[in-house]
Structure formats: structure tokens, C-alpha cells
């Protein structure tokens, strides 16, 4: 797609997402409404609000997993529909991620096959992800037998190995034992330090303070950013 296809006057350098006049209905009820939201590349943004306020729906909308919607969502300056960068560079990770049948290694390999990454490059990426996310001891384990924290780590590693530098994480540390939570939190901080763009929903105030650059509040589907620039 050419620059001409971009929504006029919306793209800014270093911008990951730009949302304008977004409205998404689910079963005749407005599930998410957002007048404007800009997420810069490398930012860590927390979505906070009560259960059912639209955080998860917003993350899924940004990743093009649900729709159709009114308004516009652009990723790296282009509308998310028919935007190859969206699948190339961003991945949504569920609160309770799904790992495919097979071992952890199979899961990493499968994600790389989906992206049609050549075998030699894929092997290198798996090695890097294994080292970076400390998965050495897990590679041969059956994915279905992992704990919640291990599953979350593998899901994030799978996304990063497949080339994602924009991660949309739904409650990444919820329902975890303390040890797993520490491991996942360390992983997310490492991703932030390395320049990944992180959008995550959370109830955990500690995680929000530690990880996020700013906050988007959700209340009964309405998203309100603490950044005035989002509406310009």
C-alpha cells in the first residue's frame, strides 16, 4: 500500500497505533468507544479499568482479531485492514494463552513456519528466544503440561521469535503463583528495555507502575487516555 492510502493527516513518525472515532458494537451494545488514541513505537501503555469495561476488546480490535468496527485504526501509518505489517510485527497474547499440541519447541517452530521463515533462520531464532526467555529446560516439555507462568512465557517467546516487536498482552500476570509472576514480570521489563512496544491490560497496580509509560482508562467501554495529544 502506498502512503496515499493512509488516512489523511494521521500518520506520524514513530507511531505504532493511531485510533480515531472508534466504535465497536457487540450484540447491539457499544463495547468500545474511543475518540482518539496514539501509541508510539517503544511505548509501554497500560489499559486499566474494571472487568468488562472493554480492555480486552480494545486489544483485540487493535490486533485486528475482531470487527467490523466504525472509525479507523492505523498501524504504522496504514489502516489495519490489509496491512501486512500488522501480522508481521504485532501479536496478541491471551490472558490464558493457547499453545498448540506438541512440545514447546514444536510451538516455536510452528509459529515460524506460519511466517514462512526459512529453516536455517528459524533455528537461529528459536535458539535466541530459548536463551533470551530462559526456555532451555522447557523445549522438550509437552506444551499442554506447562504451568500458567510457563505457558505465558512460551507464548511471549513464540511471538517474539516470530518477529513481533509490538505485543498486546491481556492480563499477562493474572492467576499466577508468585514465582511465575516474578518471571513473567522480568520478561516484560526486559522486552520494554529492548524497545518493544507493549500494550497490556492489568488490574495489578504494581505491574502498571513498574512497566507502563502511561495509562488508558476504560469505563463501560469508553477509553480515555491521559495524553491530550491523542486527540489532536
Amino acid at each position: 500500500m502506498t502512503a496515499d492510502a493512509r488516512p489523511a493527516g494521521t500518520a506520524r513518525d514513530g507511531e505504532a497505533f493511531f485510533v480515531k472515532s472508534l466504535s465497536f458494537r457487540y450484540e447491539r451494545r457499544v463495547a468500545v468507544r474511543c475518540e482518539g488514541l496514539r501509541i508510539r513505537i517503544g511505548e509501554a501503555v497500560a489499559f486499566i479499568g474494571p472487568n468488562g469495561s472493554g480492555k480486552t476488546t480494545m486489544l483485540k480490535l487493535l490486533n485486528g482479531l475482531i470487527g467490523p468496527f466504525d472509525g479507523s485504526i492505523a498501524f504504522l501509518g496504514r489502516p489495519i485492514s490489509h496491512n501486512p505489517d500488522l501480522r508481521r510485527r504485532s501479536v496478541y497474547v491471551h490472558q490464558h494463552p493457547v499453545l498448540f499440541a506438541g512440545t514447546v519447541r514444536d510451538n516455536l517452530d510452528y509459529a515460524l513456519r506460519l511466517k514462512r521463515i526459512p529453516k536455517s533462520d528459524a533455528d537461529r531464532r528459536v535458539e535466541e528466544a530459548t536463551e533470551r526467555f530462559g526456555l532451555g529446560g522447557l523445549l522438550k516439555r509437552e506444551a499442554g503440561r506447562l504451568s500458567g507462568g510457563e505457558t505465558q512465557r512460551v507464548a511471549v517467546a513464540r511471538a517474539v521469535a516470530a518477529g513481533a516487536d509490538v505485543l498486546l498482552l491481556d492480563e499477562p500476570t493474572s492467576s499466577m503463583d508468585a514465582e511465575s509472576e516474578i518471571a513473567v514480570r522480568a520478561l516484560l521489563l526486559e522486552l520494554r528495555r529492548s524497545g518493544s512496544t507493549l500494550l497490556f491490560s492489568a488490574h495489578d497496580e504494581g505491574l502498571v507502575k513498574e512497566l507502563s509509560d502511561r495509562i488508558v482508562r476504560f469505563d463501560d467501554g469508553r477509553a480515555t487516555s491521559d495524553n491530550q495529544g491523542d486527540l489532536e
Binding site: K60, P68, V91, Y92, P97, V98, L114
Partner: protein, 223 residues
């Protein structure tokens, strides 16, 4: 009833030929219904487009069309003056199989769609977010939902085995050629000859029970 059982147990040639012909038609028509029906069900499940609810409602509505109307519709296509008239399908096995496939196709699509909805939505979302293309997602979702797909296939098989309108209209109920269990039952009962009708009724009943039993097993395996 004793005579009916004797016909089956004695290996009456015409009775068993009719059973075999019915099953042959049903197997082929079900196969031809699966080929477009399962992908359509999966596409409706995976697709996100405006008008999806209308599309699903339409497929469900078509499922309720009476068999004689389906027969009439296909008849208009394969009759000598119809667009497919040159193929010579009318009053032959090809006509019955085509008509039954048209009858079963919306059933396969609607049941596949409904069945796939029982799957964990995170599975298809994970495939999408990881960059799986439409073909890969469709094949993966069909593989994941194989048990519900089997159920839809069994239901379609049961539907075409038990229908009479399409077979009568497009096959012509020609002895040793297109006569099926249901058309034989209709003909013999109208003549007051109940032995063969009853024997074939028993076979149909056994098939219906077997289909339901297998369908139930598929549900159990799904769990």
C-alpha cells in the same frame, strides 16, 4: 413382519441391491456435499464481515427447504432444456447424487459452522495473530474441529439416505437402475405390498440408529 425379515435374511437379491444402491448414492452425494459444505462452514466461522449474520441465517434457512423443492430446482437445471441438460443426468444415478448433494450441502455447512462455534475461540485467534493465512487457518480449524465435522457429515448422510423427494423426482424410481430404499418403500406401500417396504424400513431404521450412535460417539470423543 416375518416375511420382511425373511426377505433380508434370505438374501433377496432385489432388496439388497436396493440397499446397496441407496448407500452408494448417499456416500457419493455426501462426499460432494462435504467438499463445498465444510469449507463454507469454516469460512463462516472464521470470517469477519458485515452481513455475516444474514449469511448464516440464509444457510440455515436453505437447510429447511423441502426435498421436493430441491428436486424441482435441480430438475430445472438437468432437464433436457436446462443448462446442464446435455450431461444427461436426469433419471440416472448422476441426477440423484447431484440432487442429494444439493440437499445435504447447506446441512453440512450449517452444522459445521454451528459445531465449530463450540471450539475455544482463542485457538483461531492465536492462529490469526501469529500470521496464519486464510488457507492455513481453515485447514487447522477443520482439523481441530474434526469431531464436530464428522457429526455434520453423519447428519448429512442420514438426511440423504432417508429422503424420497429428490430420488423420486430426479431418479425416476427405475428398477435395477435408480430405485432406492425410500422410493421402493413409497411404491410398494402404494401398491399394498408391504413385505419389501417393511424390510427396507428396517434397514433404514438400522442406518438411522447407527448414524445417531456414531454421532454420539463423535461428541464423546470431542470432550
Amino acid at each position: 413382519m416375518t416375511e420382511a425379515i425373511a426377505l433380508l435374511a434370505g438374501g433377496d437379491r432385489e432388496t439388497w441391491w436396493t440397499v446397496a444402491t441407496s448407500l452408494r448414492f448417499s456416500v457419493f452425494s455426501t462426499l460432494f456435499a462435504i467438499l463445498p459444505g465444510v469449507p463454507l462452514g469454516a469460512t463462516l466461522f472464521l470470517g469477519r464481515f458485515k452481513g455475516k449474520r444474514v449469511a448464516v441465517a440464509l444457510v440455515n434457512a436453505v437447510m429447511a427447504v423441502p426435498t421436493v423443492v430441491v428436486g424441482l430446482f435441480v430438475y430445472s437445471f438437468i432437464s433436457r432444456s436446462g443448462p446442464l441438460g446435455a450431461l444427461g443426468l436426469l433419471y440416472g444415478p448422476g441426477g440423484v447424487i447431484l440432487g442429494q448433494a444439493v440437499l445435504a450441502f447447506p446441512l453440512v455447512a450449517a452444522m459445521s459452522y454451528t459445531g465449530l462455534q463450540k471450539l475455544d475461540p482463542r485457538y483461531s485467534e492465536t492462529l490469526l495473530t501469529l500470521g496464519a493465512g486464510p488457507w492455513r487457518r481453515m485447514t487447522a480449524i477443520i482439523k481441530e474441529g474434526r469431531y464436530v465435522i464428522v457429526q455434520s457429515v453423519l447428519a448429512a448422510f442420514g438426511r440423504v439416505t432417508g429422503e424420497v423427494g429428490v430420488s423420486m423426482m430426479l431418479g425416476g424410481n427405475i428398477r435395477w437402475y435408480t430405485r432406492t430404499m425410500t422410493t421402493t418403500i413409497a411404491l410398494d406401500a402404494s401398491k399394498g405390498e408391504f413385505e419389501r417396504a417393511l424390510s427396507l424400513g428396517l434397514v433404514l431404521l438400522a442406518i438411522a440408529l447407527a448414524v445417531n450412535f456414531l454421532s454420539h460417539l463423535a461428541v464423546r470423543d470431542d470432550r
